[in-house]
């Protein structure tokens, strides 16, 4: 399928802002993503090794007998994001199997995937400390003018720009 062009970033921004506004008006809180990743992780750990999961009080808070960590608003939201991603990429001609990196990158596929995993682990830890990620804190908390969310958002850019030179070859 022919690849459709991306939206003008300002139009996309307004569209994203309207989705966020609709969420605020309906629910009284904003969007989020890292919380559901954590819940999926905790749920998987509990199924694979319940004894190990019980060793952590923090994880036990999310998952213990009689409590399903996946029966949560954020997890339902993530199901929607996944569906929206499928519909968007199918209709936009961007749904094909692959691994993405810079066009002139000299990274092997394996190295790129390892980098994605390590970056993901860092973000998983970071999002727990910050009580949210770019969706829950920067976007939602930012629009509610929370001081902590703005501090977080500024530091995301600082961290990104600081580490970018070290992984330049991945995105050449």
């Amino acid at each position: 399928m022919e690849r459709k062009p991306l939206w003008n970033p300002y139009v996309a921004g307004v569209a994203l802002g309207l989705v966020l506004l609709l969420t605020f008006l309906l629910m009284g809180f904003g969007l989020g993503a890292s919380g559901s990743a954590a819940r999926l992780g905790y749920g998987a750990l509990y199924v694979a090794a319940p004894g190990l999961a019980a060793k952590s009080d923090y994880i036990s808070h999310y998952v213990h007998p009689g409590v399903n960590p996946l029966d949560n608003w954020l997890v339902y939201l993530t199901v929607g994001v996944f569906l929206g991603g499928i519909i968007g990429s199918m209709t936009g001609g961007r749904n094909d199997f692959g691994t993405l990196m810079g066009a002139n990158s000299d990274y092997s596929k394996r190295k790129r995937l390892l980098m994605a995993l390590v970056g993901g682990v860092l973000m998983g830890i970071a999002a727990r400390f910050a009580r949210g990620c770019t969706s829950g804190q920067a976007l939602s908390g930012g629009a509610l003018l929370s001081v902590g969310s703005w501090a977080f958002m500024m530091m995301v850019f600082v961290g990104g720009y600081a580490v970018a030179p070290l992984v330049r070859r991945q995105w050449k």
């Binding site: 003008n8 994001v81 970056g119 970071a126 727990r128 400390f129 990104g160």
Partner: protein
Amino acid sequence: MIFPLYQLDAFQLPTAKALAVILGLLFGLVLERSGFGRAPVLAAQFYYRDNRVLKVMFTSIVTALVGLSVFRAFGLLDFGAMVVPKTFLWPMLAGGFLLGAGFIMSGYCPGTSIVATASRKLDGLMTFVGVALGSIVFGFAYPWVKGFFLSGDMGVYRLPDLLHVPEPVVVLAVFVMAVGAFVGAEALEKKVAAKEHAPAPMGLRPVRNGVFVTLGVLTLLSFMPPLKPARAAGLEVGTISPWTLARTMVKDRSSIEILCMRREIPKKPIPGAIRPPKGMSWAEFVSQIPTTRTLVLVIEKDRALPQGLSAFQGKIVRLEGGYEKFKKLFMEPPKLEGDMTPAKLRAFEERNAIFRFLTGSKAPSAPRPKRMPRKTRRKLKKDGGCG
């Protein structure tokens, strides 16, 4: 109809969950069309080539922010019912930096990795798995990092509170800052493109300008005085028990504002209670209080509330039993009774601790040499005295 619907009990959890799928679907669709399902598009932000991330993110924040203030201005939004994320400054600063680092390594943030996975990108899936693994790592490290995790607790703390300026001014400042950032970002893109002999990622100028003008006009709308306060049922307020108030005063002082509304001002008022200076109306006074706080009214039992209070858009509660009951419970040293059941003893000890916290004075010691946990003692020492 007053928003936000769910927080104001307009529908229940099952409906909320169904709505979550629909809202998520829209969220995912827009992220995909923004190009955020593709790591190179996101990573370009950090090499000054294409500031798409900044443009989409800031435009969406301004859109939602301005939208909320317009709904507020028309009296359609009860902002006091909104759930504003609390600020824990240090872990949020550190978490932001670490998340930025992980972002440029993986090429995604947690949300966009879901969209990438849905677009059948293996690196997106690996990132999402990484986020889940990182959350597990945090779970096991929690006992060691708990102190830092809970540090810098400032409660619900918003930019208007920090800067001491009215909310619309902050909204305007955010809008101006965003436009400034966009102009700067586009100039930078041009420069980098010239250096790399590549075309700069130019959007459609008329579209961009149209978006700016529309948002700018709406921003100015938020300066409009509210058409009507968003309080559907007039001045019906809830109540708060003296015990709940006292505990909140110890633990979460910044979440409440105590208003002394009695005709006769007591010699020893509740610590930290405020009232308008002479000549200022209640309406003017309460409209300066951040709406994220709950107003606790200390007022004689039978007296009606002044209408001016309806200018406050946040939550209002009335102190049960008024000043007298609160004073008797927590502003006078508790007395020991002859036979204390364990429950009575616990209540005595709590009253004692609260009394000391509120008055900063020595109270009779507990009947047996049982010391409070170190944390409580430290907190009492630090915060002791009248507000």
